[in-house]
Symmetry: C2
Subunit: 144 residues, 2 copies
Amino acid sequence: MFSKACEYGIKAVIHISLQSQTGKRVSLKEISGAIDSPLAFTAKILQSLAKSNIIESSKGSVGGYHIPEDVQSKLTLYEIVIAIDGDNIFERCGLGLRQCNETSPCPIHSKFKIIRENLIDMMKKTNLLELAISVDKGESVLVI
Amino acid sequence: MFSKACEYGIKAVIHISLQSQTGKRVSLKEISGAIDSPLAFTAKILQSLAKSNIIESSKGSVGGYHIPEDVQSKLTLYEIVIAIDGDNIFERCGLGLRQCNETSPCPIHSKFKIIRENLIDMMKKTNLLELAISVDKGESVLVI
DNA sequence: TCTTAATTGGACAAAATTATCCGATTTAGG
DNA sequence: CCTAAATCGGATAATTTTGTCCAATTAAGA
């Protein structure tokens, strides 16, 4: 469904969120350890997330990544996924037709549309803060 | 969502289905022309679909592929996708956790589960015959 | 000012997916 | 028997995704 990059990205962002709530900045090393992802690859993902202003990064000896608390409750899963994988999974025709639409639909168009709308709806309604809270409470986990 | 191989596979199977209704066998060349897919790659996909008994193939000068009519109404999208892509999209954790389940779920587990159940349900309910009929009626298309 | 610890950016490598090529095999029909 | 037209199977190539390496840059603090 999501790319590996996106999976790592979502987990990373949740972990950063979690730590940001205590005011801490988190380093790449800590993140990649916490979410069990390849360090250098994770660096690339965080780099691009920083560029698209999903997370804030600061260089230097006490640098790291963080996400302001007020942003956490506004940032949705939808936006995070778009930032990493683009809108392909939300837009692309299920059978790969270049111009699949209502007037000239692929055979699974309408059925697919329903599923996809549910997915989009769910992702737009899910914000980062609630994901972080669920991990914080121990209701869900980021590894194994 | 689906791999390219799967997209081609689904379209191919629909086209074969369509032609099988008039008793015709279809050749690889015709299929790849009809669905606008790379010929040699399509050959590989059809080969594997034949091995998993989704379609029937026959060699020789008047050979080709076909799907018996009684099979068409029984064969679901779910089975076709499984045959090509495996059950990954139906089973794999949304965040890639190796053992994500009710007792130790990833942060999006429950929300994802609902979407996925809808998807599985839809695909199990969609049979090949109805897809072929919709193309036959001109209600949907396999190209552009 | 120097050291240390952090991100950044570019080049590169490995793996997976997608795609191609070609010879072998099969089968119908002249 | 021979030819034509089809699938099969194996090797290989191209592309994309995933992952690594290393030097450059930044910033705090002793």
